[in-house]
Symmetry: C2
Subunit: 107 residues, 2 copies
DNA sequence: TGCCACTATTACGCAAAGCGCAGTAGTGTG
DNA sequence: CACACTACTGCGCTTTGCGTAATAGTGGCA
């Protein structure tokens, strides 16, 4: 199974999770996701997800100048984003529990 | 989060899991998945998955006449399918563990 | 000076896959 | 004869992750 397909529908949640810890900019979010174990995530996917979540009203955004490269566009969760995180995390927990029991039956 | 997106990349594994228990035909697989908790799975998705897995050489297929409706096209796992199941299940386990730790950090 | 390498973002288009819906068809019930 | 349930197929839509290219700033090295 191509693990990239597994990200469908979950990358939003993963991005919300790292931003819930603390604000971050695109490049930083990519690094943190990869360090967390999602080492195959593409940078374009993360940038796209950030834009999508921002457009959906879940994120705040502010630009910060950097002394070691170009400017950085930081993103952070607002109330909508925190609500989205909570409900997505719950949905994910239920779904993964369902899959776990399904796989256990097939053993 | 739309839980239908979560199925992407996982429906294959779910179908392989129910067929690993015992052979089944499309309509039957749909029912068993829904009973297992994947109540939102669409029938067209399952039929498509069965065809795709069969085309990929993971399934055997045989038609059985039914006395309570049209004929039934049964599917079962062959060696390729069992191998696919094993590797997909392992990939899924690793992925869900990664997500679990990511969500735990964000608490 | 010129050439990389790293940081950082955006835009374009592709491909996979689940789903809605329509269509076909067999069986049994009122 | 209309309807409901079973059972399968095909078409087109949408979402979404990804590959690739383009743009741009900074710093190191020969």
């Amino acid at each position: 199974m191509d693990s990239s397909q597994l990200l469908k529908g979950v990358l939003d949640l993963a991005v919300l999770a790292v931003l819930k810890e603390r604000d971050g900019y695109g490049y930083d979010v990519v690094r943190r996701l990869r360090e967390a174990g999602l080492d195959e995530v593409g940078d374009a996917s993360v940038y796209g997800t950030l834009r999508r979540l921002f457009k959906a009203g879940a994120l705040t955004s502010y630009v910060v100048a950097s002394d070691e490269g170009p400017h950085r566009k930081y993103y952070g969760l607002n109330d909508v984003g925190r609500g989205m995180y909570a409900s997505s995390a719950r949905t994910w927990a239920e779904f993964s529990a369902t899959m776990a029991s399904l796989l256990k039956e097939a053993e």
